[in-house]
């Protein structure tokens, strides 16, 4: 399998080339085009069972986590995958040395040698009100991540305070706690920052330079109102 990200950083697309027998699982709606013999299967959320559970996650998460699996039946088959919003994509290689915590909207694709746990409650429960959910990814292989805006990859050895809307992913060597942006709740709310994540440890942190929620609010408020 060979993954090549083109048209960086704003209009990125991941070109995934596969030989017969190889397959890649991608977030639903990510496919733009495909060439060669490819069989497609739709899956519910990676590790939970049943349609109802997946609908529940749709309500909680920013998007439902359904995936399509593309399996090559020919050599030199290829599929083009892209996210919804303008921005960059990066391929992170995961292996037995770490796990990757990925913000739900930032996952694009990974082969079957990579496992995706959608029942990871740790962070998911805390931010479900903001429409954010996290995936725990482990195994070995490439993981394609997307960002809204550009991707800033930080090799952390220490501490970092992060606005959750700007968080794409981080490795398991980095611990996290939720804290208020400022010392008191009033300032935290007025600052517009609310809750932030205090990251501490050693590992890789991926940030996106734009926050979808901020963009949505900035642009959306100027659109024609919805009649109620």
């Amino acid at each position: 399998m060979h993954i090549d990200v083109r048209h960086r950083p704003a209009e990125s697309v991941a070109h995934v080339k596969m030989n017969a027998g190889e397959s890649i699982r991608a977030e639903s709606g990510a496919m733009l085009a495909m060439v060669g013999g490819i069989k497609v299967e739709t899956n519910g959320p990676a590790s939970s069972g049943g349609l109802l559970k997946s609908l529940k996650r749709k309500v909680l998460g920013a998007e439902s986590f359904f995936t399509n699996t593309f399996k090559a039946t020919d050599n030199d088959a290829a599929v083009w995958l892209a996210p919804r919003l303008p921005g960059d994509m990066v391929v992170h290689e995961v292996n037995s040395s770490h796990e990757l915590m990925v913000q739900g909207g930032s996952f694009v694709a990974a082969p079957m040698s990579v496992s995706i746990d959608t029942r990871f409650e740790g962070l998911g429960g805390l931010f479900s009100g903001e429409g954010l959910f996290f995936l725990k990814i482990h195994g070995h292989g490439p993981v394609v991540l997307n960002a809204f805006g550009a991707i800033d990859a930080i090799d952390l050895d220490g501490e970092l305070i992060v606005d959750t809307g700007h968080l794409v992913a981080f490795t398991s060597g980095v611990g996290y706690t939720v804290q208020k942006a400022a010392d008191d709740w009033l300032t935290s709310l007025l600052s517009g920052e609310g809750l932030v994540l205090h990251l501490k440890g050693k590992g890789r942190v991926y940030l996106q330079t734009r926050n979808p929620d901020e963009y949505g609010k900035a642009a959306g408020r100027h659109l024609a109102p919805i009649e109620h």
């Binding site: 083109r6 048209h7 950083p9 704003a10 209009e11 990125s12 697309v13 070109h15 977030e27 639903s28 709606g29 990510a30 496919m31 733009l32 085009a33 495909m34 060439v35 060669g36 497609v40 299967e41 739709t42 519910g44 439902s64 359904f66 399509n68 083009w80 892209a82 919804r84 919003l85 303008p86 709310l189 007025l190 517009g192 979808p212 949505g216 609010k217 642009a219 959306g220 408020r221 659109l223 024609a224 109102p225 919805i226 009649e227 109620h228």
Partner: protein, 239 residues
């Protein structure tokens, strides 16, 4: 006349440099960014009123097209499309055609003819509000996309999500298909796809306007709801 595409792939813009007396470029109304003083612009309804009206109703293009010419060698013109994305061109021989998404047209040089192509019941984009135009050479056609542009050879067969088709060359044939079965249509995200085969290329854009709309829709204000809390918050933020 020299043409140069700048700021690819996110903010594609065309820079034209006039060199000879009869150099001219025709562009979509509203495409002009700026030009050297002295560059002349004439506006007309291309092909006459009825042809222009047909194009407006069916193709979604504006009726008016601007023709730019230079009065001194070295004068420049900058043209840009509406959406964020790439701008590319294709040179067409006399009689050679190119099918292009309505709204993707930016400009052309030479004697390119722009016709509507009525798809009828097999319209690739039926229900989407978009149509396809057909451009016929000789000349060079400049077009833009929402997103980056991937040029894909159709000879092995290519399946393309409908929202991402920008255009295709003569010799490429297509048929509409539903992606997967019933379940995948509703849950898999992909809906209608187009299968291309034959010779030539299909041009695919890496972003989809429908996705931008569905992203922004939940952020639209709701009429009649109490938004004073929101307003107070915004005021204190200094918005």
């Amino acid at each position: 006349m020299r043409t140069e595409i700048l700021q690819s792939p996110a903010f594609g813009m065309l820079r034209v440099t006039f060199e000879m007396r009869d150099d001219r470029i025709v562009a979509e109304a509203g495409a002009m960014v700026g030009h050297t003083a002295g560059v002349k612009m004439t506006t007309e309804m291309q092909g006459g009123f009825l042809a222009a009206a047909k194009r407006k109703l069916l193709g979604g293009e504006t009726i008016f097209k601007n023709t730019f010419t230079g009065t001194k060698p070295g004068q420049e013109l900058l043209l840009a499309p509406g959406p964020q994305g790439d701008l590319q061109s294709i040179k067409l021989r006399a009689g050679e055609s190119f099918t292009l998404l309505s709204g993707a047209y930016v400009a052309h040089t030479g004697d390119v003819k722009i016709d509507t192509k009525w798809q009828g019941a097999r319209s690739i984009l039926s229900g989407t509000g978009f149509f396809m135009l057909q451009a016929t050479g000789p000349g060079e056609l400049f077009f833009a996309a929402y997103g980056g542009i991937e040029k894909i050879d159709v000879s092995r067969g290519v399946l393309v999500d409908n929202g991402h088709i920008v255009g295709f060359t003569e010799g490429a044939r297509y048929e509409l298909k539903q992606f997967g079965g019933f379940r995948s249509f509703f849950l898999g995200g992909e809906g209608v796809v187009c299968r291309f085969i034959g010779t030539g290329h299909v041009y695919v854009q890496t972003r989809n306007v429908a996705n931008l709309v569905s992203f922004l829709t939940p952020f639209r204000p709701v009429k009649g709801s109490d938004s004073t809390k929101g307003k107070l918050f915004d005021a204190m933020k200094g918005d």
